[in-house]
Symmetry: C2
Subunit: 223 residues, 2 copies
C-alpha cells in the first residue's frame, strides 16, 4: 500500500473566515463535492466511527477522508488500512483548529474528481474548532458516554453549530452515570434542530442510522 | 452558602507570556502561594478528582480552586459544595486557554493571605492550554481510560509540559482496550521525568498517592 500523504497546513492569512468559508462551500457545490466536518474531544472514537461509517457507505458514494492532527499520522494510516479509501493527513503544526483556507489547503491534496463526499476529521477539541467555519455543508460531532451528559452545558458553541450529535460508546452505559434523556435535553437547549444518534462504534450498533443520515443529507444537498 | 464568585477574564495584551509567567511565579513565591495547573480533555474527571484530592489534604494545607470555563459555573459550585473551600469561577468568554496574565486576573479574586495552594482547573482541551505557561509551579494532567492510551502520541506538547499524569477511571479498564504499560511508555517518550499515578476518582482508589505527590511537591518548593 502507498504511504499516506501528509500535508503541512500553513496558518491562513484571511481576515474574514466566514466569507471565505461561504466561498469554499460555493466552490465545492460547483464541483459536486460534499464536505462533512467531524468534531469531538480527544478519545471519543472519531476514527473508529469513521471506519464503520465508511465501510457502510463506500459502495454507494465515493468517500475521501482528511485527518487533521497536530503532528502524528496514525489516524490516516488506520483509515486507509481499514477502508481502502483516499485518506490524507493534515498536520496543523500545533494549531488547534482548521479554518476555511486551511481546509482548502487540505482539499488540494485529494483527487476531488473521484470524490462525492469528503469527511474532515477536525482536531480533537470542543472549543476552537467550533469557532471556525471550515466551509463544510454540515457539522457533526461525537460525544462519548464517558465524557458525561453535561458537555452541552459546558461547551455551548460546539453543540450549537452541530447538525448531528452522535453519542458513542453506549456499550459502557451501565458503568457510567450518564443520563441519556438529560443529554438529549441539553443538546436541544443548544440546538433544537440537531439530530441525536446513539451508537457503539466498536460493535457497529447504530451505524446504520448514522449512514442513513449521511446519505440522506447528501441526497438533499444534491437536489 | 454564599454564591460562587465569577470573574470575567479579559484577553491579555502581554506579548511575552513566558516572561510574564516567570514574573507571576516569582510573585507567588514571595507570597508563599503554590500554584498547580490542572489540564485534561473534557469529561476526564477533573472536578471529581479535585474534590477527592482536596478533601484528603484540606486539613494539612489551605487550598483554593479557580475553575476556568467558557461560560458555565457548574464546576466551582460543585467544588464549593463538596469541600467547603474557597472556589471561584473564571469565565474565559470563549477563549480556549489561560495565559499568565489571565491567571493573574483570576488570582485577584482569591484571598491569597488565607491560601497555601491554588489549583487552577484549566479549560478542558489537550491543545491550547499546553501552549501557554500560566505561571504555575507544576503542571499536572488527567488522562482517562476511555480516551485511549495513544493520547501522548497525538498531543505531544501536553504530555511534555506535565510533571504528573494521572490516569483516571481505572475502574472501567475491563471494558476498554487500554494498555497501561504502553501508555506509560508513550508518556515516558514525551517526558521521561513525568510521574504517572493511576486512580479512580469515583471510588477514591489512588487518591492517597495523588495527595502524597501534591504535599511532597509543596514541601520541596517551600525549602
Amino acid at each position: 500500500m502507498d504511504p499516506v500523504k501528509v500535508i503541512e497546513i500553513k496558518k491562513s492569512v484571511f481576515a474574514d473566515n466566514d466569507r471565505d468559508a461561504d466561498l469554499l462551500r460555493k466552490e465545492l457545490k460547483e464541483r459536486g463535492v460534499y464536505l462533512l466536518n467531524l468534531m469531538s474531544s480527544p478519545g471519543s472514537g472519531k476514527t473508529t466511527t469513521l471506519i464503520q461509517l465508511i465501510n457502510r457507505i463506500k459502495d454507494k458514494v465515493r468517500v475521501a477522508v482528511m485527518e487533521a492532527d497536530i503532528d502524528s499520522d496514525v489516524d490516516a494510516v488506520k483509515i486507509k488500512e481499514a477502508t481502502g479509501i483516499q485518506s490524507i493527513q493534515l498536520h496543523t503544526g500545533g494549531m488547534c483548529h482548521l479554518d476555511a483556507e486551511m481546509t482548502r489547503q487540505g482539499l488540494g491534496g485529494l483527487d476531488l474528481k473521484e470524490t462525492d463526499l469528503v469527511i474532515l476529521e477536525n482536531v480533537g477539541n470542543l472549543v476552537c474548532p467550533a469557532e471556525f467555519d471550515t466551509g463544510s455543508c454540515r457539522n457533526m460531532m461525537i460525544l462519548s458516554v464517558p465524557e458525561g451528559e453535561d458537555k452541552p452545558l459546558k461547551y455551548p458553541l460546539m453543540f450549537s453549530v452541530c447538525d448531528l450529535v452522535v453519542i458513542n460508546k453506549i456499550d459502557v452505559l451501565p458503568y457510567f452515570d450518564f443520563d441519556m434523556d438529560k443529554c438529549r435535553q441539553y443538546i436541544k437547549m443548544r440546538n433544537p434542530a440537531a439530530e441525536v444518534i446513539p451508537i457503539c462504534a466498536k460493535s457497529g450498533e447504530g451505524i446504520d442510522a448514522l449512514a442513513g443520515w449521511v446519505l440522506r443529507e447528501l441526497e438533499n444537498w444534491k437536489h
